[in-house]
Symmetry: C2
Subunit: 437 residues, 2 copies
């Protein structure tokens, strides 16, 4: 860190926004707004503390709507001091009112928050990276980095390229081809580590201590994670400045879940929406479900696991914010559920066939858990329910290959087409017969 | 067509919007607004004719801005009669002010219209399909179809799934894996035809005549192609209600090019922007450049070619609107240029490294042509130039695989990382030395 301390001191002074300090979530100790993520006293995680008192008068629904069509319309709620933030159009993704999936599940008011088309790299990670790299630049970092299951590496490499920052990203060596290529294309230094995400993360913690780089999800984590709050703000705004009754979101580290919660709370605090009890339900893959297990067993601690699932983007065996996620599910009368890899694939297909949205394995997990919760009577059909789709299916093509059928290969002749069409109709009939049996 | 004539008659009557007739681009003959794309008298292509006279008073910049954040904010300019259009958030993609690519090329005011993040399927085709399927539903079609080089199939399958329409799509059998899977996931009937796009297209014309389906780019083509006008409207709006000086767009059939032109003209006609001479330049891949050849040889007709290029999405050997594209380039003092497959790959990498935007081969073609035109002095550095990026690189991963380097594979240990970092720095130095030599 020594390399950047002068730059940090210089720019911290400019932070005239509502962000006031870093505060330990456990003991409450406070620190200045620098690149630090762990409390020196109790080793608890640090979070950005704001003073929103001035916002109750200066920020209105109208002032937000007049802002940019991106996460930066909520700039007063984000820990970036200057106007020199990086805006690549991230955020303000559609909140789709579901018709066909809702009918299939028997829900009356289902909405899909679709970050599978987030900009620029098609996952919710563009939100956290936009915030982290904007802050990194303010703190004087010239090289940025991350430990990633793929989406974060894509996003960090792309936004660093846009901003002209040097970039070195770390991934497990067994990732999907689309996620590897989706980083390499931006020309970062890409380190593929033999090991799972938790091992990659440990290595990165060491590198962060020796190289003075800005690791978006390590030493910049308090800023980075605040970007996820925008998934709360946007849903509230897009519902016509109201909170939903129930949300379902995927759980990896648990951070996204806690930040949606924080986003809703902050909007209530400054008077932008009415207070309301929102139920929070979380989704994990059975092959990596330490948070769902803790919830089921009513524990207040997480037992780390070794991941073994196709849902690699959420396969974090030792989730940093797991206990906070359990706490939120409990106190909001929500649930945390896990599904098998087969159910995840079915979830991906179900969303594509009913809504025309192609999501990656994490989204398949969330849809499958949504279905499971509805079937178990744990979501009321009358609840306004929002399901968070966090990434795009084109990045994890391997997961569904072999489960979605094949094209009919034909000659460029009418009779060859007619024969294939007849075959396809026979197959459809067979499928229906199977359903009826 | 007989199967749908009653439904057509019923809903045509409702068309109280500004769309008035189908009109032949060659002989001017007019037809009612049904599913027809060719003039019965001269076999010329039909286009939608409007009466915009009422719009000069009823449509303002403010009324458009108050509309949905999608192409449907321009609904009065589109050939859809009812309010029951299909809005899946298509359009209003970012117009990015380029910093790093602009510097690299020596341009002062370069903008990137980024449809690589268009919704729902990450290409500009979502625009034309949203319009075509909305109109198909009005005309009473229950099965929709298309001949496609990939992106159109993805879009038709996805939006049909969302709208609950039956869907059968036709593609050449040698398409990129991402484009095949990117259709299959939505469960259409998918026909992979042995042959190139032009052969697929001919087969589909026969099927359209026998099955009474709505082929978005055949019998629905007059409606479908109008969707591309929104790429003109949005750029004008996003530039602050001004037209650019110069645009560069890819040429496949040539339709997109002519419709951006039409979009600009219409905005001038209704008084939304000032008139201005906009230069139109087009981009083709050398392995399929019948339009660029006609332009170079100052011909007013197209000689069809057999495509042989990695830029499959724009590989149309017999482009339907090729002559109109040549005409526009000529009369606006623009250019039409082609680039090699190697230049296309460099174009993809250049855009990714400088702007953090990962485009498919069509976008690589456009960026490479932009570069070539600048180097040839055919774009003035002071011109406000807009380059259209029309699709996402995750769908054509094969094209860049092998040209973007490999990750450094390391153990989860600090010394393994340090060695790799040293190697990467040596490689960087070597690269610089090569540049300097």
């Amino acid at each position: 860190m020594t390399q950047v301390s002068t730059a940090q001191a210089a720019s911290t002074a400019q932070l005239a926004s509502t962000a006031k300090a870093l505060k330990c979530k456990e003991c409450g100790a406070e620190y200045e707004l620098k690149a630090q993520h762990v409390c020196e006293l109790c080793f608890g995680p640090l979070e950005v503390k704001y003073d929103f008192s001035s916002l109750r008068f200066s920020v209105t629904r109208e002032s937000i709507q007049a802002g940019p069509n991106s996460i930066w319309r909520y700039r007063q709620f984000l820990p970036v001091a200057t106007d020199n933030y990086i805006d690549v159009g991230t955020g303000m993704t559609p909140l789709v009112r579901s018709q066909r999936l809702a009918r299939r599940l028997g829900l009356k008011k289902l909405y899909i928050k679709n970050d599978a088309v987030n900009m620029p790299t098609l996952s919710f990670k563009d939100r956290v990276v936009s915030v982290a790299l904007s802050r990194a630049r303010e703190l004087g970092f010239t090289t940025v980095s991350c430990a990633s299951t793929g989406n974060l590496a894509n996003s960090t490499a792309a936004i660093a390229a846009h901003a002209g920052l040097d970039c070195c990203v770390f991934i497990p060596s067994d990732l999907e081809a689309g996620k590897v290529l989706g980083s390499l294309i931006y020309s970062p230094t890409l380190m593929a580590v033999h090991g799972n995400y938790d091992q990659v993360n440990r290595l990165c913690s060491e590198v962060a201590n020796t190289h003075g780089w800005g690791f978006v999800n390590i030493n910049l984590r308090p800023y980075y994670s605040e970007g996820s709050k925008t998934l709360g703000y946007e849903v509230a705004e897009q519902l016509g400045w109201e909170l939903p009754d129930h949300i379902v979101a995927p759980l990896a580290s648990g951070s996204l879940f806690t930040k949606i919660y924080k986003g809703f709370k902050e909007f209530v605090e400054v008077g932008l929406v009415e207070d309301k009890k929102v139920r929070f339900s979380g989704a994990q893959a059975e092959g990596c479900s330490p948070i769902a297990e803790a919830f089921r067993e009513k524990r207040d601690f997480i037992k780390p696991v070794k991941p073994n699932t196709i849902a690699k983007s959420i396969a974090i065996g030792n989730p940093a914010d797991g206990v906070y996620a359990v706490d939120i599910a409990n106190k909001t009368n929500g649930n945390i559920e896990s599904v098998t890899d087969a159910e995840i694939i079915e979830g991906i297909k179900l969303l594509a066939e009913t809504e025309g949205i192609f999501t990656e394995t994490a989204g398949g997990t969330t849809v499958a858990v949504l279905k499971k919760l509805v079937e178990a009577g744990k979501i009321d059909p009358d609840e306004t329910t929002v399901v968070y789709i966090t990434g795009n299916g084109l990045k994890t093509q391997e997961a569904v290959q072999g489960y979605i059928g094949e094209p009919f290969t034909i000659e460029a002749k009418l009779d060859s087409f007619e024969q294939a069409l007849e075959r396809s109709r026979t197959l459809d009939r067979l499928e229906w017969q199977q359903v009826l049996v």
